[in-house]
Amino acid sequence: MAACGEDAKPATDFVTYGTPLEPLEEDEAPRKPLPIHEQTVRDEKGRYQRFHGAFTGGFSAGYFNTVGSKEGWTPSTFVSSRQQKAEKQQATPQDFMDDEDMGEHGIAPSRITTTQPFASRAAPAPWDKAKALGAQTAVIPGNDVLDELIAPAGSSIGAELLTRMGWKAGQGVGPRIKRKPRRQRAPTHGRVFGCAPPPTGSEGSEEDDDEEFAPENATFAPKDVAAVDFGARTGLQGLGYRGLDPALALRGQSDGHPDFFSPHSDATSKLFGETRRATRGPRGVAGQAFGVGALEDDDDEDVYHRDAMSKYDTVLADEPGDGLYGWTAPRGSSQKEASYLGKILEGFTLSQGSQQDKTVFPPPKLPADFQPLHRFRRKVQVSHLSGVSGAPVVQVPPTPPENAGRHRVVAAQRGALLGETVLPGPSSVMELLRPEDRERLMRLRAPGSVSAPPPPPSTALRRQEEAAAAAWRGLGGDCHAFKPFQKNTAKQARYEAYLERLRAGDKDAADASLDPSMTEWERGREKEEFVRASVLYRPTSSALASRFTRAKDGDDDDEDRVEVPRDQEGSTQDKEAAVRMKMFGQLTRETLEWHPDKILCRRFNVPHPYPGSAIVGLPKVKRDKFSVFNFLTVAQSDLPPPQAAKKSRWDQEAEPSPAQTSQPKEESPCVKPPEVTPEDKPQVVKQEEEDDEEEDDDDEEEQVEDVEEETRPPMDVFKAIFASSSDEESSSSSDEDDQKEAEEEGDRAPSVNLFDVSSPVVAAERTDAVPRAPPPPENAEFGPKLPPPWFVPVPASSLAGEERRRNKKQDKCKKDKKKKKTKKKKDKVRRQEDKKKKKKKKAERQSDGEDVRPEDLIERLKRVSSSRDAR
């Protein structure tokens, strides 16, 4: 128990009984045991039971140790008068017992049992066994015989009935018979082996005694026959072997084999329960297994028991009895004649007619050309033989095709074949219909329409059908995820066709997609199934559907499954397109359910958004470990279609910017931004993205733009794909060209500005031709690199360092110049800007206001962007 408690984990489930002891604590003072008078015992109903002590009556009974209830026990009033004598009160033990005593664990458990009269003669098995055991081990071995003798007499209902019919114990059951003269007796009373003659009815037990005065007209009860025990043999001994029976051994019977069939044998007597004192033979233990005792009188006893061959029959002599088939032979006809002579119970009568023998018919004669092999036909056209077809039976061809199978024949045909007369009355439902209805039906069944119209479906089915049609109409995509009729491929195909039709908005999709070759009944059933299935498994909305994963077919092991986030970030392709078009917002935004940790929420002083949720992070679902979808997401992020293949890797920033996709890939590896020299610049610029953020106003830039505009699909395509309907409505007035122009304007404006400001610097840089120090070869550095350190520690690049230092000196002096230049330029720019600003609206003027609140700024920004959108 202690060990149990030590390593007991909540996971291991032991079955424990009772209430566990409270754990002992070291420093706790030993608790005083509860005094006896405070200990309470309750019965199963929760009532207190006072304990009186074992010797004073145990638990208190009744109500506070009294009988009955709170009111006490009211004795039945005794009234006896001259006219009405009081009946004698017979008290049963039950009157003095509580309910608990009658219960399962009480002293007299009451359960339904077979009462003695109805019990079968056979004593209950355990009882029997116990008795047999007692007999074996008893001091006086024959004791149980005495027990049996003084056993209480109880007769079963069967015995009762028999006695009423005149049966007496010891007699056989059956009609009384006349005694026939003994024809023959077994000539020798020697041992009989093998099949012994049965005790025939004529061979009564009293025969020997009664033979001389057998009157002609007297009838006798048949001889009692012991039921043959057909119990299975369990031992290894041979047939008929019995172990040494102490009862027999004591009586010193030296017979080798018990003779069951001779009526006087002990075995028989034992079987029949008779106790007959063996009068002859020596006493004491004797038998084959025992030697000759010291007290044995006769010394000539065959100690070693040599079996003499003379004891056996050597010739198949005449069988006793009828000599026909031994004792299993059917009884002679003489017995049949005997009428029942016994008493007949009242309420019963003797049957007059004799029991009819079962007639056994000979097997049918096989035709000469019968071949015990069945050949199946390839195709059986059963459409015209449809079972419940509305066509009148008269139209059925009188002779079915010879090769039509038995099951392909309609009942009417079968009847015709058998030559049955046609039952009077309408042979078809059609005849019951009114003529106009029939006419209409026939019109509907007109040739040309392959499928017969179904019987008008029940309104419920009709409604379901409509619901299914409404649910599936206009839906595209793969809705075949659920295959309800997977086992029957043809049916599944029909079901899918049905769904197709539903999606197309077909009204009678079910009828059209059903197999015309089926019977109407089948078709009706299938239609119903289809409609039900389509209603049950109607496609969920994609958002909802993504929350569920289909269970794997068959037995699914958890080992094969892996947890993956339920909501995956969607594919990047359309988002890339959206980014390229600068359509940020809905298209690039995804909102997922995310569960913060409880502690994290507490630390942030934020109520948990999903109280009671045990999930942390993104909700996960189990998917097959090797499901394609698990890898798809990876593929999405790592290699979104070709050009973006390794874009997101850290070391790719040297390559052309990701947005720029139309450039041939060959150029990319040779260009590395940090190593940009002025000579390379145009090339770099070429790789600038299309966002028109050109620092250098190169002509090539425009070329690139042209190229990209060629490759880019027309705006309509993107609009059709991405723009939501509301957007379209709002911007429907504006032309796409306008929008484009506006964009370009917006882009141009800062670029001009920029150019003005930075051109001197750019020019200076160009003339300087300062090669930027290459980044030090860091050890497998990924990602946007950290800028190169100021000092270049690698000796290999010391030259470059020197050069840089030299350049720096140059730079310094140039810097001053530059500064001046820029200042001048800046002033100019500022003046220009001021001029511009004057022209600009008042609202924008306010932006220069002294105290600008960020909220205002954002407000304005939004307004500006929205107005830009509107344009």
Binding site: V579, W650, E850
Partner: protein, 323 residues
């Protein structure tokens, strides 16, 4: 050489070099203001973190303990702690006054790009090259992170925390915003490795710079693009961007050694501040004043709106060394 002063532009830009600090700790990977802008933190490639006085530019303390270059730092709201992330894959929580390592948090599988305290400095959030953001509890002694946000499919390059939101920028080209209050994750796809993200001061917008040399201002709630700022060069390096303290301008580092200032609303370039010849890697805007820190190579420049040093409570600043 006096030019007629242009019309006074009231939202002034920090275009006057106030001070240049040579940090002497190798290339400065990140420079940060503390919560009220009095102190500077510089993360050096020589494994050290240095605390400077913002007004005087004097070195106050050096924190050593990282095993590799320090990539990002953040100061707690009460100036009592600093957290740093490093290339040695650890996040260290420093005690400011003693300079001791209060806690060293291991768990990232790769270098830690960005760290950030939450508002009450109860949680340190760190984004790493291994694509995860780990939330470390500073209150308990738990060695394990509270939660690991592994939604990013590539390195997490930048991370910002607002009251109940986490903004992460990842190299997989997505800006993710974890809304703790709503229990939602908003993913904005930008199709280019994100180098830096930040919230606007009013918390309504997010700014993200990416390697396609574009800084984008997105509406936080809908994900729509409110502004796009181009002109600078950000193609290979993880450079930073930020918003000015009053949300009037968008700032971004550039590989050409300048810091670009764009007007937030109009989207036009308003200033191109030449900082150095080398790449300007990090910048930090003063939380309240128009003051800018830029880090280029081993130097940190302090820029201010006024050319001359304003005589503002220097003594206070020095006396207020956090204890």
């Amino acid at each position: 050489m006096t030019f007629p002063l242009p019309k006074p532009q009231t939202p002034q830009l920090p275009q006057h070099l106030l001070r240049t600090i040579d940090c002497e700790q190798g290339p400065v990977r990140a420079v940060r203001f503390n919560v009220d802008g009095q102190y500077l933190l510089t993360c050096g490639a020589d494994k050290s973190l240095k605390l400077w006085s913002g007004s005087r530019g004097t070195l106050l303390k050096t924190y050593t303990g990282h095993g590799y270059e320090v990539l990002d730092a953040d100061g707690s709201f009460d100036n009592s702690n600093i957290c740093t992330g490093s290339s040695d894959k650890t996040v260290i929580l420093w005690d400011v006054a003693t300079g001791q390592v209060a806690r060293k948090l291991r768990g990232h599988a790769a270098k830690v790009n960005c760290v950030q305290f939450n508002e009450e400095a109860t949680v340190i959030l760190s984004g790493s090259l291994d694509g995860t953001v780990r939330c470390w509890d500073t209150r308990s002694r738990n060695k394990e992170p509270i939660q690991i946000l592994d939604e990013a499919r590539d390195s997490v390059s930048s991370l910002k925390v607002s009251k109940h939101e986490l903004l992460t920028g990842s190299v997989d080209g997505r800006v993710r915003r974890y809304d703790l209050r709503m229990g939602q994750l908003h993913v904005d796809f930008l199709n280019s490795p994100i180098t830096c993200v930040c919230f606007s001061q009013d918390g309504q917008c997010t700014l993200s710079s990416s390697l396609d040399s574009t800084v984008r201002l997105l509406d936080k709630s809908t994900g729509e693009m409110l502004g796009e700022y181009t002109g600078h060069k950000m193609k290979g390096y993880k450079l930073e961007c930020c918003l000015s303290s009053k949300d009037t301008h968008v700032l971004s580092c550039s590989e050409d050694g300048n810091v670009y200032f764009w007007d937030l609303v109009e989207g036009c370039l308003s200033l191109k501040l030449p900082v150095s010849k080398a790449v300007v890697q990090s910048l930090s805007f003063h939380p309240t004043q128009t003051r800018l820190l830029t880090a280029s190579e081993s130097r940190v420049h302090v820029w201010s709106a006024e050319p001359e040093e304003p005589e503002q409570n220097d003594d206070d600043a020095d006396s207020a060394i956090p204890t």
